[in-house]
Amino acid sequence: MRDQELIFMSAADLATKMKEKQISPVEAVKAYLDRITEVDGKINAYITVLADQALAEAQQAESDINAGLIKGPLHGVPVGVKDQIYTKNVRTSSASKIRSDFVPDFDATVVEGLKRSGAIILGKLNMTEFAMGDPITSAFGVTHNPWDLTRNPGTSSTGSGAATASFMCATSLGEDTGGSVRGPASNCGLVGLRPSWGRVSRYGVDGASWSLDTIGPISRTVEDCALTLSAIAGFDQKDQYMKDVPVPDYCAALTGDIRGVKIGVVREFLDPDVMGVTQSVRQGVLQATEVLATLGAEVEEISLPLAPVAGVASRIISAVERSSLHPEWLRNRPNEFHHNTRVAFTTGELIPSQVYYKAQKLRTLVRKQTLEALERFDVLVMPGASEPATVMNLEPGIRSKEAAVRALTEASYRGFFSLVSGPALSICCGYTAEGDNKLPLGMQIAGRPFDEAMVMNVAYAYEQNTNWHLECPSL
C-alpha cells in the first residue's frame, strides 16, 4: 500500500487492517515518519520525533501480530502525545525553556493506557508554553494551521491538532483546561473530546489548572476519538480527583441512532448581538442541527443566561490555579518565560482571593443552570468558537485592555463546558467559503457528566451523514 493511502486512513481502519495483516505496523510507522519529514517543516507540530523508538516498537507489534497477540484496539497505531504528558525517558518540556531538559522516569497514566492498548508513541507534540492560551509562546516555535499556515491551529494543544489534521499521526492526545482540546479540533476540522472531569487520569501530566484540567483525544473521526478515549479512560487512584465510574464500550455505543434524542441548542452563543458569532459559524451550526433533526433527534432552542459569563470565570480560575503551580520560576527565572506567559502568570498571582472565590461561585451557578438543562436535554449544542481560525499575531503583548476583555468573552465558548465538568466534543460542521480560505467550522456537543457515549453517538450520527471529515488540507 502506498504511504499516502495509509496515512489518510482512520486509526480504526488502520488497526483493523493491521490485525488482518494487510498493513504492518512497521509500514505504518515508516509512512508517518515520511509524512513528518515531508510536511512538519511547514507545520512545526512535533517537538520530539521518536523515530528509532517507534520503529522498534512497531517491529515488536508486528511480531506480536504474527504470533497472534493483539494487545488492544490500538495495536500498532502511531499516536502523537502533547508535550506536557509524561513519557518515560523522553523529554517532556511543556514547550518551555524551563522544562526543556526535563525527562520523566515514568509514563503518565494516559500513556500507560495507550501502550496497554497497543499504540505506538510516534512523538511529543508542540503546544503553547505551559498550556497557556497564546499560540506564539512555545519555546520550540510557532505551530501552524495546516488549512492556512498564517492561522492559529487552536490552543493550547497546537501540535496535537495540527499533526492530526496534517496526517502526521493517526490520532493524538491533548489537554483541555479552558478548551485546549476543542479549540484545535475546531480550528483544524477535527474531533476533539474534553472528557468529564474525573473520567481520565491526570497523573503524570504537567498541570495547568487543578480544577479544570482534563486529558482528551484529538482525532480525525468520531470512531477514532472513541477508540482513543477507550484507551485512556478509567479510574486511577494516583489522581485524587478521579471518580470510579464504570467505563462503557464507547465504540459499541456508536450506533448512529439518535431518534428521540433531545438536543438543546444554546441560544446565547448563536446570537451575534450577545456573543459576536460570525455568520459562517452560525450558519454551520444551524445547518448541523437541521441534519440532526432529520435523523430523528428532537431539537429545541434553550436559553442559558449565564453561559456568556463563563469565560470570565474560567479564565480567572485557570489564571490563579496555573500561577500557583510553580511560583518559584516566576521569581527566580522570569526571563526564561515567553513575555506573554510571564504576563499571564504574574496576572494570576495578583488576582485577589475574593475575586477567585467569586469566579468559583459563578462556576457553581453556571454548572447548576447547565446541569438543570441537561435534565431536560440529552445533549447541548453550540459553536466551538465565534469565528474560524484567526490569523496569528506574532508580536508579543496585549493590544489594549479592551482586547483583553474581548478575549474573556470569547473564552466563554469553550470555558463554559469546562466549568460544567461534563464531556464536551468539538466536531467539524462545515467550512468557510470566503475567497480562497477554506477554513473549518466547529460545533460543540456536550452532555451529562460521564455520558461521553451519548455525546460521541450524536457526533457520530452527524458525521456519518455529512462529508466534512473527508476533507483534507492541501500542504
Binding site: V309, V343, T346, K361
Partner: protein
Amino acid sequence: MPELNEDEIRGLAKAVNIEIQDSDITDISYSLNAMLEAIDSINPEGINAVEPLSIILQKEG
C-alpha cells in the same frame, strides 16, 4: 471597581515578592484590570448564597 494603576500593581506584586519588569507592566495592567472589571460587572442572583466548591461535592454518574 476603580482601575488599578501601574504603581498599585507594582505594590501588589511587591507584597508577593514579584519584581515586575518595565517591559511587562502595561500588559499586566491590561490583563489584570480586564479581569477585575469583567468580574465586577457580573452579579447574578444567588451569587452570595452559593459555595465556591462546585466540582467536588456534586453527585455525578
